[in-house]
């Protein structure tokens, strides 16, 4: 991989951080009137894998979909307008933050009910297999998704039919406020993949070099037609489950654990990685950061100024004509 590709990947990761930070900062203005699930802390799990997909590869996401949407190249203005409930939102304001989609880049759907998108992704991969397509389907899930029966139902079917699907499980250790060890026997989620003879890896999702290495391996495997793949990416969300704030005062997560993960901030790690490799100087990266910050600020202004959709739109598209 050349340094320009690395820079683009860094810029995308920082763009996500920047968008999420601005959502967080502006949320109290009450202009974004929908629940939000921020991806701060989990940016590289998205960019480090999704950047290696083709535009035609299909991507499915969940309630925490901002990073996946932007990593796939989803339109920024349409995303911010959607979260602001505006007419030019990516789904015209009917979905809000949890239903982002951009069919131009094949972010096919984000489904906020835990695990629900897995089934749609399975159907997508089934179509790709039946039509001998060269493209694959990727679905992002969280650790709690492994507790839903539908994961196991689909994993069985995908493995049985060797479907071209890549499961990416972002394990951020918590389902809302509940630790994984109160819900599952251990934190190793690849055992479920093994149960269905699905190739798998467990990696540190905050380290860009690791994410790239294993993502390329997994994508190549799935593209070769050998069947599904499962990657567990261990990561941590920095903000509350739903909303713009920190909720560290609630003490459901240990301070030592929070500090441990904040020291493993994926953006900081990425910067250090680029500096260590002598690809770019700190000044060069700062300059890129500033450009991105300016771009995102402008996009926010645009979204805030955009008009609301006409109320009549609410009745449309209940049925396909």
């Amino acid at each position: 991989m050349n340094k320009i590709k690395f820079l683009n990947l860094y810029k995308k990761s920082y763009l996500i951080r920047c968008v999420e930070n601005l959502i967080s900062e502006n949320y109290s203005k009450n202009k974004m009137r929908c629940p939000i699930h921020l991806s701060i802390g989990q940016e590289v799990c998205a960019t480090g894998l999704i950047s290696f997909l083709n535009k035609k590869d299909k991507l499915y996401s969940n309630h925490r979909c901002h990073a996946h949407y932007l990593a796939k190249g989803g339109n920024l203005d349409a995303m911010l307008s959607e979260i602001h409930g505006k007419k030019n939102g990516c789904v015209g304001g009917v979905g809000g933050s949890m239903h982002l989609q951009d069919l131009n880049v094949n972010l096919v759907a984000s489904i906020p009910i835990v695990s629900s998108a897995i089934a749609l992704a399975t159907g997508s991969a089934l179509n790709q297999k039946r039509s001998n397509s060269k493209n694959i389907t990727v679905v992002y899930i969280g650790d709690a998704a492994l507790e839903e029966g539908i994961f196991h139902e689909c994993a069985n079917f995908c493995s049985l039919h060797k479907l071209p699907i890549l499961f990416v499980c972002e394990n951020n250790l918590f389902s809302v406020y509940t630790n994984i060890l109160e819900r599952q026997i251990d934190t190793n989620l690849t055992k479920y993949a093994k149960a269905f003879s699905i190739k798998n890896d467990e990696i540190d999702g905050n380290k860009i070099d690791q994410v790239i290495l294993y993502s390329q391996k997994a994508i190549n495997y799935v593209k070769s037609g050998k069947g599904p793949y499962f990657i567990q990416m261990n990561t941590y969300r920095f903000k509350e489950h739903c909303g713009p704030s920190n909720d560290d005062h609630l003490k459901y997560r240990k301070t030592s654990e929070i500090n441990l993960w904040k020291n493993k901030d994926p953006i900081t790690y990425f910067r250090k990685f680029l500096l260590k490799k002598n690809y770019f100087s700190s000044e060069q990266l700062n300059k890129e950061d500033l450009k991105i910050e300016k771009k995102v600020k402008n996009a926010f202004k645009k979204a805030e100024k955009s008009p609301y959709p006409n109320n009549k739109e609410a009745r449309k598209f209940v049925y396909a004509e």
Binding site: K58, V91, G92, V94, G95, H99, Q101, L103, V108, A109, I111, I113, S116, I118, A119, L120, A121, T122, G123, S124, L126, N127, R130, S131, G149, I150, H152, E153, C154, N156, F157, L160, K316, F317, V318, Y319, A320, E321
Partner: protein, 360 residues
């Protein structure tokens, strides 16, 4: 093409619809549990696997939510799918996918996605099917915007409605009564896609409007034929597409007859009849008599022959309702009842009445 009308049964009609659709759309596929087993859904998909192969007929692990979800995902990406389930109750596992994804993908994507999927669900009855093998849930499915609900009764409807459901762009819940599988009738064998309409007019009459569907419309049909001999004419409407519900044809009918009886396939409480009668009142349509609803009582379906007595709406309960509505002369009503009893063979109530065989 010439209209070829042939006598056939409901099972063959369903099979013909599936064969024709598979031939028409080469991408379209079918999935189900035991798709190629010796029963083949009571023969409705017999021979399909041999003819079209494993790529078109996919065996579905016993994972209804996952696999109906996969069918929805396949449909969103441009492939029509038909899912076959042996009993309605198995679809309960898949309510999450049906209600969240099938019903809402078109809406959320502002029409960019459509979900051309048909889920065939069979309603059981008789021979002790019991509490969890005899439900129909047409009222629940009909309360979800974005779904279509199709309930065929006669063989010709079975074929036309299944073809039309498969080629509809929307997710269709296709509710098929097990007892209808025995019915015979003339069907148009030509491939034809029709618009799904709420009501199918079965008989034209002026004295009373009867709305029913599925197995109940066969009984209503028998009753109407008997009443005809007594100079009472029934406007008989098959409520074969209750979702989306458009009552305009029904309103036309009751403006003429000013009397209405509705027979629900499922429970009377909060059944389709409740909604329809509410709409009649909202539209201020004047009736000569109070509307009557028939349907299942508000308890689960018991298994024992001794417990299902008076559970299902039947000829006598429908005739009593008609008598109440039209306030018939006592002698005349007794003669009608006598005629009905003569017509109906004495049979245990937990097996299909031979009358249901038709031909219709």
């Amino acid at each position: 093409m010439q209209n070829k009308k042939n006598l056939t049964n409901f099972v063959e009609a369903i099979k013909l619809a599936i064969f024709q659709s598979l031939k028409k759309d080469k991408k379209f596929f079918l999935m189900g549990e035991g798709v190629n087993d010796p029963s083949s859904m009571w023969g409705t998909i017999k021979g399909v696997a041999e003819k079209f192969g494993k790529k078109r007929i996919i065996e579905m692990p016993i994972s209804e939510n996952g696999l109906i979800g996969a069918a929805i995902g396949s449909a969103i990406n441009g492939t029509r799918v038909l899912v076959n389930l042996q009993r309605v109750e198995f679809s309960l596992y898949a309510f999450e996918q049906i209600i969240n994804n099938a019903a809402k993908s078109c809406y959320i994507s502002r029409g960019k996605h459509s979900v051309p999927i048909v889920i065939r669900l069979v309603v059981g009855r008789g021979w002790g099917q019991g509490p969890e093998h005899a439900q129909s849930f047409e009222n629940i499915f009909s309360s979800i915007p974005g779904l279509k609900v199709v309930i065929p009764a006669f063989p010709n409807e079975a074929k036309d409605l299944l073809v039309s459901s498969i080629f509809d762009k929307n997710p269709v819940i296709f509710i098929e009564h097990r007892w209808l599988h025995f019915s015979e009738g003339k069907i148009d064998k030509n491939f034809k896609i029709k618009t799904l309409k709420t009501f199918n007019k079965i008989l034209d009459g002026k004295d009373i409007t009867i709305v029913a569907n599925s197995i109940n419309i066969l009984e209503a049909y028998r009753v109407a034929k008997i009443l005809k001999e007594f100079n009472i004419s029934v406007d008989l409407l098959n409520l074969c597409v209750p979702n989306p519900l458009n009552c305009s044809e029904l309103f036309k009918s009751i403006k003429k007859t000013k009397n209405i009886i509705i027979v629900d396939l499922g429970h009377k409480l909060l059944g389709l009849g409740s909604e329809i009668i509410a709409q009649i009142f909202e539209n201020n349509i004047k009736l000569k008599s109070a509307p009557i609803r028939l349907g299942l009582p508000f308890h689960p379906t018991p298994s024992s022959l001794g417990l299902i007595k008076n559970y299902y709406p039947d000829g006598p309960s429908l005739l009593n309702a008609i008598n109440k509505t039209l306030n018939l002369n006592k002698n005349k009503f007794q003669n009608i009842l006598k005629k009905y009893k003569k017509n109906k063979k004495k049979m245990p109530i937990d097996v299909p009445d031979p009358y249901f065989k038709g031909p219709f």
